[in-house]
Every structure is written in C-alpha cells, then in structure tokens.
C-alpha cells in the first residue's frame, strides 16, 4: 500500500516551510532513517527522514517550493513489489488539499493575530509621503539592534545561541556576520550568571542587550534584573546608572506547556527602577527597541514568539524611534475602549472589526509600555467612550488590567457607565492539550464578549 510522506513541522509554531532539496529521486529505494529531503523555514533547516521503507514512487512537491503547508503530502512511497506507476496524483491539487496539523482552536487563535493590511498610523512624527516596507517582526527587531550597534560601539548583544546559531528564534540573524564575536556573544546556558555579568558590564560603561531565549528562563536571573539592575541607581544616590536591555519572547508560544508559557508584564511592571515595554507591531517594536537601547535605565523588552513571523509595514526612515511610556490610540471609536499590549493588541483590533459589524464602535489602545504606564491616554479615551475592557495574556490576579482598572476608577470614576472588565488568561498554569490551551488563553472573541457586556443597555 502506498504511504504518503507529509511535510513535517520543525517547531511548535511552524505552519509552512520551503522544500529546499530532494536527496532521493523518484524510483530510488528508501530505507527507514534515510534522509530524503531538506526543508527550511525562516528560522531553521531540517532533514526529513523516511519512516517507512520502500520505493520513492512520486515526488509531489518539487524542490525549491516555498510555502508548503505542514502536513501537505510531499511524496508517495510504495512498498516493495507495488507498481510505482499506479500512483498518480496531481501536485497542484494536492497542495491545495492540504490541511494544517494544529488543533483547529489553536489555528483560529493564530489566525486572529494576523497582521493588518496597511501601516499602523499612530505617530504624527512620521512625515507624510513616507514609504513603508513589509517586514516581519523578528527582522524589525534585528534591524533595530543592528542600527544601534552601528551607531554606538558600546552596544553589544549576548545570550544563548545569539551568534553562531543565529538566534534561537532568528531574531539576531546575521548580526554575528556584521559585528563579529566580540559584539555578538554566545553564552553558556547560565541565565543568572550572564544577566549579572551583563549588569556588571553596564556598570563598566557598556550598553548590553541581554537576550533571554524566553522570559520563562529569566526567572533564574530575576534577582539581577531587580536587585542589581533596577535598584542600584537609587541605592547609590544616582551614581550607578545601568543602561541595559533584557529582551526575548514572553507569554505563550504554541503548545509548549506551563513552564514555557507565561506573561511577565505584571511581574516586571511592579518594580520601580525598571522600564517595561511590550510592543505589538513591527514598526513600533523596532522604534521602541532602539529607544530602549539608548535609554540610560534598565529596560525589560517583552516580545512575543507568535508575532515574530508576522509582517507589518515599517516606515523607511533612517532613524525612527518612539518614546517609552507612551501608549497609542491605533483605532478610534466612541463606545468602548479596548486596552491591550503585545499579541492582545492584534486580538483587540480583530475584536473591534467584529464589534463594528454589531454596531459597537471600539477604540483600541496599544499600551506599548507597561512601565511607565500611560494612564493619561487611557483616561482620555475612557472619558470619551465611558467603557473599558483590558486584555492581557497574564493572569487576572494582581495583573496589568487590574492596575489599569484601578487607575481609571481613581481618575475617571464619574465617566464610567459600566464596571471595567478584564480579559486575561484563565487562572491556571497553561495546559498542554490543544483544546485546554485554547480554553485557557484569551482570544479576540473573549474581547468581543467583554466589550458587549460593558456595552449592554447602551
């Protein structure tokens, strides 16, 4: 019986890839374990091994094909004695028939954070007539680092796999080639140690960018982030500035379980002496990372793995920065204010579209910075809409939404027509099972439901 060979996934978040090379040809004998092809994504390259033995009867996806969906049939293997000629399929038809491997719930959630079609026009400083280039978030972050490293010799990047491997999530891709091993430093797996070393280097006159493979691992280093980086300026009466950026992916990825899926915005947002940034789109992420690198204070820069591959319009400006501590109204509305950061901004935008269909006009605020928190922009908006929904991937208890709701109640109580609602992750460690994970994480539909609830009786 013929066996379908499927396009494999290289990582939990991969949806498609390039079939780079066939190492076996049609008619070749194949044994289990033989390498038959090479596939690539923007993050990695992997060999495809045969699981069964037989004859490679038909190659359905020619080498060099890009955008091959995970689980697409890429070739057909026949068992010995089977007639290869009996296998005939149309390549094009097969590619179209492909169904993705991930759980439907997860896919829906991912689709919801798709990037918008046009530029997110939020900064009046962008001159009219500025052109834009479609850039994925990971490349925008890389460009920000590269630009700042060209500008300032004391800026360097260190972390696990940032150099030779080109970044665990390819955010530091090609930095080693341009800046060399002195300024792009692979560290041992030793978060506590290299975070402390980075802080010491900042005290010594450098501007380190410390990459954590994910912020989950930064819990090993949180003592240095808080006790050494955030507090020393104060404890020294202003002598010991610590210009350092701690950056890396934060919050949930896809199906990696509780220890690898946590949103730390509220944790770091709690600490005076730190700045905390959590951008959504590539343009603001690039501009904010440049500001973070130039900032004389320690900055925790929270990225999102599920946004790394999304494409956004980034302005073609030589040196575009945004101020840390300033939120942006990225969609204007009159009935309800939706406030989110990082991936929840995408969900809020999607929710706003859905709400518009139901006659509710939502204003969307991209928080961008968790600390300083731009309460002014939020309060201005709530004074107009009289209703507030916050959205975060962290837990509700002691979370960012609670802080925003408290601030709004304190400063704009009389403007509120309904109690503020918070959309958050459920109050459980993130489960692995696809259906449970989807139930646990906040979605665009959750934002829609919360917005409708605060607008009830409007």
């Amino acid at each position: 019986m013929a066996v379908d060979i499927l396009m494999p996934a290289l990582s939990p978040t991969m949806e498609e890839g390039t079939l780079a090379k066939w190492l076996k040809g049609e008619g070749d004998k194949v044994e289990a374990g033989d390498v038959i092809a090479e596939i690539e994504t923007d993050k990695a390259t992997m060999e495809v091994e045969a699981v069964d033995e037989g004859t490679l009867a038909k190659i359905l996806i020619p080498e060099g094909t890009e955008g091959v969906k995970v689980n697409a049939v890429i070739a057909v293997l026949t068992e010995d004695g089977e007639d290869a000629g009996s296998v005939s399929v149309s390549t094009e038809a097969e590619v179209e028939k492909v169904t993705p491997v991930a759980e439907p719930e997860v896919l829906e959630a991912q689709a919801a954070s798709d990037a918008p079609a046009g530029p997110i026009l939020t900064n009046p400083d962008i001159p009219e007539g500025t052109t834009y280039t479609k850039t994925v978030l990971r490349d925008a972050l890389r460009d920000a680092m590269a630009e700042e490293m060209r500008r300032d010799e004391t800026v360097f990047v260190m972390g696990e796999e940032v150099a030779e491997y080109q970044g665990a999530y390819k955010v530091t891709r090609e930095l080693l080639q341009e800046f060399g091993a002195r300024r792009v430093v692979d560290t041992p797996i030793t978060e506590h140690g290299f975070a402390g070393l980075g802080v010491g280097a900042a005290f010594g006159g450098l501007r380190p960018i410390v990459e954590f493979m994910t912020f989950n691992f930064a819990m090993q280093a949180i003592d240095h982030i808080i006790n050494s980086a955030a507090k020393t300026l104060y404890m020294s009466g202003g002598q010991m500035g610590c210009p350092i950026v701690f950056r890396g992916p934060n919050a949930a990825a896809a199906r990696v379980g509780a220890q690898h899926s946590q949103d730390y915005a509220a944790w770091y947002g709690h600490v005076p002496g730190l700045k905390v940034v959590a951008p959504w789109d590539a343009a603001s992420a690039k501009a904010l990372l440049k500001s973070a690198i130039r900032d004389p204070n320690p900055v925790v820069f929270l990225e999102h793995e599920l946004l790394y591959g999304l494409e956004f319009d980034v302005p073609d400006l030589e040196d575009y920065t945004l101020p840390i501590g300033k939120a942006a109204v990225i969609r204007e509305g009159t009935d309800v204010t939706l406030v989110g950061y990082s991936r929840m901004v995408g969900f809020s935008m999607e929710a706003a579209d859905k709400l518009a269909e139901q006659g509710i006009s939502a204003e969307v605020i991209d928080l961008r910075s968790i600390r300083p928190l731009d309460m002014e922009t939020i309060i201005e908006s709530v004074k107009k809409t009289n209703r507030l929904v916050t959205a975060e991937e962290g837990w509700k208890h002691m979370g960012v939404g609670g802080e925003i709701a408290a601030g709004v109640t304190e400063h704009a109580f009389d403007y509120l027509d309904a109690p503020p609602l918070r959309v958050t992750q459920k109050d459980v460690p993130l489960p692995y099972a696809g259906n449970l994970e989807a139930l646990s994480l906040p979605s665009a539909d959750d934002v829609v439901a919360a917005a409708k609830a605060v607008c009830e009786g409007m």
Binding site: T154, F156, R182, T187, P188, T190, H192, G193, F194, A195, G196, L197, G198, V199, G200, A201, A202, F203, G204, G205, L206, D223, H224, N227, S228, T232, L233, Y234, M235, S236, G237, G238, Q239, M240, G241, P272, G273, K275, S291, R294, D295, P296, N297, P323, I324
Partner: protein, 336 residues
C-alpha cells in the same frame, strides 16, 4: 570548632618604611572606624544590618596595594573596609551608615549599598554572591573596551556556595576575563563553620573544574596578601584570565550586630586576636626592624582616632536627607 589560619612567625624581608607605615595606618583606620561604627550602632545612630570587618583588615589593605588607576573593586555587604581601602572618605561612609544626606548614597543605600564611581568602588551588594557575576561583568567591559584594567571581586566563604559564583567562573575562564576572585574565608558563613557548609573546604580549589588557578593565602598577614595579590593581578592583567585567592582570615565580631555568638567559643576568638592579629603582627615587625618606634606608632594611632572621631561627628551632624530625595534617582532622564 573552625580551624583558623595557623599563626606564622612573620620573617619578611626588610620592609620599606613608607609602605609599612601606610599599611599600618590603613589597617588601623579600618579597625578604629569599625569599632566606632559598632559603638554608634549600640547608640542607635546606625540601624538595620551592620557587618563589621574587624580582624580582616589585612585582606583589603594588601590587595589594594596591587591595583592601579582604573582597576575596579566590588564586594558583598561586609564592605566598610573595602571602601576605606579604596580611599573613600570616612565621613561619607560613616554618614551613609547613619542614613544622612552626607553619605555616599545620600542616605538611600545604607551599610550594604554604597558606591563611589570616582574611586572605582562598585558596591556594596546585599545579595550573597551577586557581586561575583557583576565583578565579572566589570572585567568583561575592561576587555571589551581594550583597557588593561582588572576587577577585584571579593566574596566570603558563605557566598562561595552560591550557584551564580560558578556560572561566573565558567564565563570568566571561557573568555579569559581580567578578574581576580578574592575569597575572604573568615571561617563562618553567618554562624555555620566552613566544615559544616562546604564539602570542599579548601576554597581555592573551587576553580579547578573551570581551569582557574587558585591559591591559599594567609589573610592575616598584609605582606602575604600583597605578594599573592600581585601575582594574581599580573596574571589577570596579562590576559591569562581569572585567578582565585583564598584569604584565610577571621572576623572578631559577629556576622552582624545582632549575632548571638553561640556557634563559636570565646577562646577561639581570643586566641586569634592575641596570636594572629594582622595589625599587631605588622606593628611587631615595624618595631623589630626599627622602622618606627612605639611613640611614632602612637602618634599615628592618635591621628587615626581624630579622623574617625571627625567622621562620627560628621555622620551625626549631617542632616537626614530632604524628603524630596524620596523620589530622586529612581530613573535617569532620557536625553532628547
């Protein structure tokens, strides 16, 4: 009972007068300063945690003699001696202990958190072992910037059990960073003796698996410290990477001012005090070699007492920080 460094007969070669007297003066300043700090603590003028350096003076005094302009020093919370050795102003240090405006951190740091960029003293860190990666980072910056400066990272026998110490050792050796790790083994991690807290009590061997050379030093003899320090600093400065010095030393006072002193016998302290004191030892050598007379040394004692009294007076007269200081130094302004 912990076994302290064996008293040795100090038969060093002919001492240089200036250096011998400087060592005497510097160690005595630390001793008298700390005694006064203890007194001010008892009077309620100094609050919180206060860890005195009495007994360990030869370590910082000898090591400081090995440094040159631009070399950095960083340590943990038993830091008053290090600051005085770095030539920081006793007034500013004492006023920080009393939490006053005239303190090095304008009263916002306290005993465990003091710094002087001007004197290249980088703290003063209250989390046990944190200064080891930080000091390694200072060394990283020296190498990165092409400076031939060395950083000294001091830590105690207790901190020597922290995981981050070994994370730092690994990177320092891997990247040949110019750092000297000075372990001040005063025999007790708070109240737990080395034998009770360390599986390998010879702490200078703790770098072996990272290929870091180390040696044991009589930390009660300022000349032995200097000799070992010069070798270690030269090693680090010449690009050969880190070096470990284990200073066998002893603190006469408790871990902090609130130490119940139940974990060691009074006789143990008295024995070291009377037979192996770093200041008495040097004094004996100075007199034996005819470098200075008892009278000369008494004059120095008097001078030191005056400096310390002045520092204490200043620390009490200096006002408490202005309430507006509560809100300053949280963040630096961003340049436009």
């Amino acid at each position: 009972m912990a076994k302290a460094a064996t008293p040795k007969r100090r038969s060093s070669p002919k001492l240089k007068k200036d250096e011998a007297l400087k060592f005497y003066r510097d160690m005595l300043l630390i001793r008298r300063f700390e005694e006064r700090a203890g007194q001010l603590y008892g009077m309620g003028k100094i609050a919180g945690f206060c860890h005195l350096y009495i007994g360990q003076e030869a370590v910082v005094t000898g090591m400081q003699a090995c440094l040159k302009e631009g070399d950095q020093v960083i340590t943990g919370y038993r830091d008053h001696g290090h600051m005085l050795a770095c030539d920081m102003d006793p007034r500013g240090v004492m006023a920080e202990l009393t939490g006053r405006e005239g303190g090095y951190s304008r009263g916002k740091g306290g005993s465990m958190h003091m710094f002087s960029r001007e004197k290249n003293f980088f703290g003063g860190h209250g989390i046990v072992g944190a200064q080891v990666p930080l000091g390694t980072g200072l060394a990283f910056s020296n190498k990165y910037l092409g400076k031939d400066n060395v950083s000294l990272a001091y830590f105690g026998d207790g901190a020597a059990n922290q995981g981050q110490v070994y994370e730092a050792f690994n990177m320092a050796s891997l990247w040949d960073l110019p750092v000297v790790y000075v372990i001040e083994n005063n025999m007790y991690a708070m109240g737990t003796s080395v034998e009770r807290h360390a599986s390998e009590t010879e702490l200078f061997k703790r770098g072996i698996s990272f290929e870091i050379e180390g040696e044991e030093v009589d930390g009660m003899d300022v000349y032995a410290v200097k000799k070992a320090g010069e070798k270690a600093v030269k090693h680090a400065r010449s690009g050969k990477g880190p070096y470990i010095l284990e200073m066998k030393t002893y603190r006469y006072r408790g871990h902090s001012m609130s130490d119940p002193a139940k974990y060691r016998k009074r006789e143990e302290v008295d024995d070291i005090r009377s037979h192996n004191d770093p200041i008495d030892g040097l004094k004996g050598q100075i007199i034996e070699q005819g470098i200075a007379s008892e009278e000369d040394l008494k004059a120095i004692d008097k001078e030191i007492r005056a400096i310390v009294k002045d520092a204490a007076d200043f620390s009490i007269e200096s006002p408490e920080p202005d309430p507006s200081e509560l809100w300053t130094d949280v963040l630096l302004p961003v340049e436009a």
